[in-house]
């Protein structure tokens, strides 16, 4: 009787028990627990319903052949398509209805990330040691929209769109490639700096751009004071200003400045627009002769400058500059301190300055830096950074819990504080807020460099318009930079109203008068159209272009009918007045002769301003032109429209000229 023979029964029994253990281990899967919970919930929710609840235990799987995705999320997320589970706890909560996103077709992970194949919470949600593509945090969720819809989702995916815009506005594209998009150089050119700014100011600026101008897009390179001095020294190489005296009259200068409504774009003493730089300390920044040049012809200095050419006479400019250099000094600047800084710069090393300027990649945003080759795109390519592998991202010495070691978190923190992970990294600090960082992270994540099948693509939102007026009008638009504030055919700013149909809207006399001496129609507006020195030929050209090009047939076709409307008839006008004040209470929002609401434009003298066709057209459907106008829509009968039009056009200013 051998040893092995003796232990045979024990071994056999043991292996049998192990087999049972094995079966148990396989049977005992976490998803079952969730399904039992769900079943219970389902039962109590559907008590009283006629047909019995049928619920099959087991795996649920969505398989998209085209996307090559297998998602088993619904094995536990069982209430997705059942509205009764709207307020049920996860994992049973109903999926919110987002337009046509039928997950029967799209699956889950295509948008949400995570591991669709997995059937345990840890593996499915991630990250795990062997699967880093974790679920996207809600904050970054919108990045997936771009897969099918493109990235210009102003309304549908505001965060993504904001990130997209910021990426280019803040000059990220200056250093980082992004999906074959054209490079944008956002900063001003830095030629003849020595003729432009004072050395102590440049030093302070480099030490902390936001201290001088809080809204600036210039990031902080985190220079040490020595480095700042060196870079300044390098940038200020070359001859200084000629020192020609700018002698003018501060008094008239001030009036011109105020009349010219510089505050529409520039902030002065904390008040005004954000488009141009802060002005109230400009005298301690730039030399008077530079200021003169800027006011005279900004485009000659920087072709992309947003500042219009006002067309002042030299005398006026002298006055303005004189006033500015007297008034707009940096008051809390200490003379000795400034002198010390100037001294520091004077003793700075140009060579080291140059090295720093190159290393820091100033050329990413600034052109014409003397002695530096303009090679942009120093940063890594972002074109597919949204799907970068975690192992390529360096978390430095920062201890990050494994669960948080994800690509989105890395990007987010990198943008939030670029030098977090390692000393001596290049990327400068923009001091982005959490929201801003989130937006840019979302955009970066959307750069997946991958295509979804054609049947899935559905571009939404407005692509950027490439409208560029030519000829005489084009020159004018360029000279006065109209598109900084106004939008034409989808191109331009949001500050002032859209001019795409201006020609159909306003009357010749009014627009010509307005261009000469613009006043505001909307009571509540701060930004106001600056009074440019428009020349008569320009004025004619503007109107000609409006009348020929910026028109819509919808309005032009009304000319016939409107002529037949007998808008002058006093009876009709009186009807209109009734409707205006009593039936529809238009005065709640519109003013006539200082009476009425402040929401809509002032309607005094509309008869001189708007073309009757336009008024009719607009009353028919206020949303037809301005999609988001706050105007309510009334189902006005043609008769009412006729009457209202007649009344509005008849309104005359009670102020006697």
């Amino acid at each position: 009787m051998s040893f092995f023979q003796r232990i045979f029964p024990i071994l056999a029994l043991l292996s049998f028990l192990l087999l049972i253990g094995l079966v148990w281990k396989d049977y005992d899967r976490p998803y079952l627990e969730y399904q039992r919970k769900f079943k219970a919930l389902l039962d109590q929710k559907s008590t009283g319903s006629s047909k019995p609840v049928e619920f099959g235990f087991g795996y649920r799987q969505r398989w998209s052949k085209e996307l090559g995705r297998v998602d088993r999320c619904e094995t536990c997320h069982l209430g997705l398509d059942d509205p009764r589970f709207k307020d049920a706890p996860q994992p049973f909560t109903t999926h919110p209805v987002i337009a046509e996103h039928a997950y029967e077709k799209f699956g889950c992970t295509e948008c949400h990330g995570g591991q669709g194949m997995a059937t345990t919470v840890e593996d499915a949600h991630g990250p795990t040691e062997n699967w880093n593509k974790a679920l996207y945090h809600d904050n970054f969720m919108e990045n997936s929209c771009s897969l099918c819809h493109g990235e210009y989702l102003q309304a549908q995916a505001p965060v993504l769109f904001r990130g997209q815009t910021m990426f280019f506005e803040y000059g990220c594209r200056g250093c980082h490639k992004a999906d074959g998009k054209a490079r944008t150089v956002t900063g001003p050119p830095l030629d003849e700096m020595s003729k432009r700014v004072k050395s102590d100011w440049l030093y302070r600026w480099l030490m902390g751009p936001k201290d001088y101008w809080p809204q600036t897009k210039m990031p902080d390179a985190k220079f040490t004071s020595q480095e700042a001095a060196d870079v300044s020294a390098f940038l200020l190489q070359g001859p200084g200003p000629k020192g020609q005296a700018i002698s003018g009259d501060a008094g008239p200068g001030k009036t011109t400045l105020l009349e010219s409504r510089c505050t529409t774009c520039h902030t002065i003493e904390g008040k005004g627009g954000k488009t141009g730089p802060e002005l109230s300390k400009v005298a301690s920044k730039a030399y008077p002769e530079r200021l003169f040049k800027v006011v005279k012809d900004p485009h000659a200095l920087w072709s992309d400058s947003k500042m219009p050419i006002f067309g002042f006479a030299d005398k006026d400019i002298n006055d303005i500059v004189t006033f500015m250099s007297q008034e707009y000094m940096d008051l809390d600047l200490n003379e000795n301190e400034a002198a010390r800084q100037a001294q520091l710069v004077a003793s700075g090393s140009k060579e080291r300055g140059k090295e720093l300027a190159v290393k820091q990649g100033c050329v990413g945003c600034h052109s014409k830096i003397e002695g530096v080759k303009e090679i942009g795109e120093l940063g890594p390519d972002m074109s597919t950074f949204g799907v970068v592998h975690i192992s390529l991202l360096d978390f430095g010495d920062i201890k990050v819990p494994f669960k948080e070691r994800t690509v989105p978190n890395w990007i987010y923190n990198k943008i939030k504080s670029p030098r977090l992970f390692k000393e001596g990294l290049k990327m400068p600090d923009y001091y982005f807020s959490a929201e801003e960082a989130t937006a840019i992270t979302t955009y970066t994540l959307s750069l997946k460099g991958k295509e979804v099948p054609a049947s899935y693509t559905l571009p939404l939102g407005e692509r950027p318009s490439d409208y560029a007026p030519q000829g005489a009008f084009g020159k004018i638009v360029d000279k006065y930079r109209c598109l900084v504030c106004h939008k034409i055919n989808g191109k331009g700013g949001e500050v002032a109203n859209d001019l795409s149909q201006e020609g159909s809207r306003v009357q010749e006399a009014w627009i010509k008068k307005f261009m000469k001496a613009p006043d505001t129609i909307r009571p509540m507006l701060e930004e106001r159209m600056p009074p440019f020195k428009i020349l008569d030929p320009e004025n004619d050209a503007i109107f000609a272009y409006c009348r020929t090009t910026l028109v819509t047939d919808k309005v032009e076709d009304l000319t016939g009918p409107v002529d037949k409307m007998a808008l002058g008839d006093p009876q009709i006008i009186r009807d209109g007045e009734k409707l205006y004040f009593e039936k529809y209470g238009c005065n709640a929002c519109h003013q006539i002769n200082q009476k009425g609401g402040l929401v809509g434009p002032d309607l005094t003298e509309t008869g001189k301003r708007l073309r009757p066709e336009w008024v009719v057209y607009y009353l028919h459907d206020p949303k037809a032109f301005v999609k988001r106008s706050v105007e309510p829509v009334y189902a006005l009968t043609d008769k009412e429209i006729q009457a209202l039009t007649a009344f509005v056009l008849s309104s005359r200013s009670s102020v006697t000229h």
Partner: protein, 360 residues
């Protein structure tokens, strides 16, 4: 009918009479390793066939299929674990079996041929494990294979050609996967079954030649004794494998991704010794010459060795030199693997296991 095995002859104490014994405990123990290895081979075949039902050797599907086994197929993960751990166990135990044979000087005439067959079986085990290693098509597999193919490529003259033909291309792709699959599920099992059969039969006949007195007397009836005995050996290994399959999941990393190299990329553990060697100097010497010399030497031991005393017992004093040499070889081989597995970090630099690696 009557049937005898080596163990039995020892258990009857017939072969060792009158020979000075080194250790009472070790005396004439074989631990039934041979049969245990056969049991493993059986388990591997059964689980392997089962796995094949759900596996397609297609670079687009392989990984997905393994994930399915892991997550949604009843007993899928279990069978996969059993297969993986049996394979690893078999490598270790075949090696142990060989050591045992060497320490008992059982490779001698008339068993020299069986010794060589045994060595071939060991190599087959390694190749089978290696080809199986690629099939999950995850990072571990992909980069392990990459290392191995580069080791091959480092051979003189034929190196590049060899790599080219094994991968069916210049890099690891669909061809490499298909070939690994075919080798793993068809060629190797076939060869191994054949060799094992040969091994067993020769073992039996050699016994009779070595101990003619086994004829006739000292019979033990096959039923139930021998069956029990061999079954219990099978159960021992089955238990170990099942415990392992319950406790540890077979590793499955991210999907194979040529653009992301794990730092450091390591060969399958059973070839880590080779990779370690390779890191020491010229591939030609360290990857080709030295291993092959060792191999050749091992093959030829029966024909080289002069002495005739001390057969059939563990560590017979008269074989001190052989034992020292062999023990040295074993410890070095295992040492190299342990070194490569636990003491090597990025750029194959030395790190203590508890040291953290600099990631960049």
């Amino acid at each position: 009918m009557a049937l005898h095995t080596r163990n039995e002859t020892f258990e009857n104490g017939s072969a060792t009479s009158g020979i000075p014994v080194v250790s009472k405990w070790l005396e004439d123990k074989t631990f039934g390793l041979g049969l245990i290895n056969i049991s493993l081979f059986v388990i591997l075949n059964v689980t392997g066939i089962l796995l094949m039902f759900y596996y397609a050797a297609d670079t687009d599907r392989a990984y997905q299929d393994i994930k399915d086994l892991q997550f949604v197929i009843t007993f899928g993960a279990i069978f996969r674990n059993m297969h993986r751990w049996s394979a690893y166990a078999m490598i270790a135990l075949v090696f142990l079996h060989m050591s045992r044979v060497f320490y008992m000087a059982e490779y001698r005439r008339p068993r020299q041929l069986n010794w060589v067959i045994g060595w071939c079986l060991f190599l087959c085990t390694l190749i089978a494990s290696l080809t199986g290693y690629l099939l999950p098509w995850d990072q571990k597999a992909y980069w392990g294979m990459t290392i191995m193919s580069n080791v091959m490529a480092s051979a003189p003259i034929i190196g590049e050609k060899l790599k080219y033909v094994v991968l069916g291309g210049s890099e690891i792709g669909q061809n490499a996967l298909s070939r690994a699959f075919d080798l793993h599920v068809k060629v190797m099992p076939l060869i191994m079954s054949f060799l094992i059969a040969l091994h067993v039969i020769r073992n039996r006949t050699d016994d009779l030649i070595a101990n003619p007195q086994l004829h006739g007397d000292a019979e033990v009836s096959v039923w139930p004794n021998i069956i029990c005995r061999e079954l219990s050996k099978f159960f021992i290994i089955l238990i170990i494998i099942m415990v392992a399959a319950i406790l540890f999941g077979a590793p499955l990393e991210e999907e194979a991704n040529p653009s992301v190299t794990p730092i450091p990329a390591k060969a399958p553990w059973f070839f880590l010794g080779l990779q370690e060697l390779l890191s020491w100097g010229a591939p030609f010497w360290f990857a080709i010459v030295i291993p092959n010399m060792v191999l050749l030497f091992a093959f030829l031991v029966p024909y080289i060795e002069r002495g005739q005393t001390g057969g059939g017992v563990w560590l017979h004093p008269s074989r001190r030199l052989q034992n020292i040499l062999f023990t040295a070889f074993v410890t070095v081989a295992i040492g190299l693997i342990i070194l490569g597995a636990f003491f090597r970090g990025p750029a194959w630099r030395f790190y203590w296991p508890w040291e953290s690696w600099p990631l960049h």
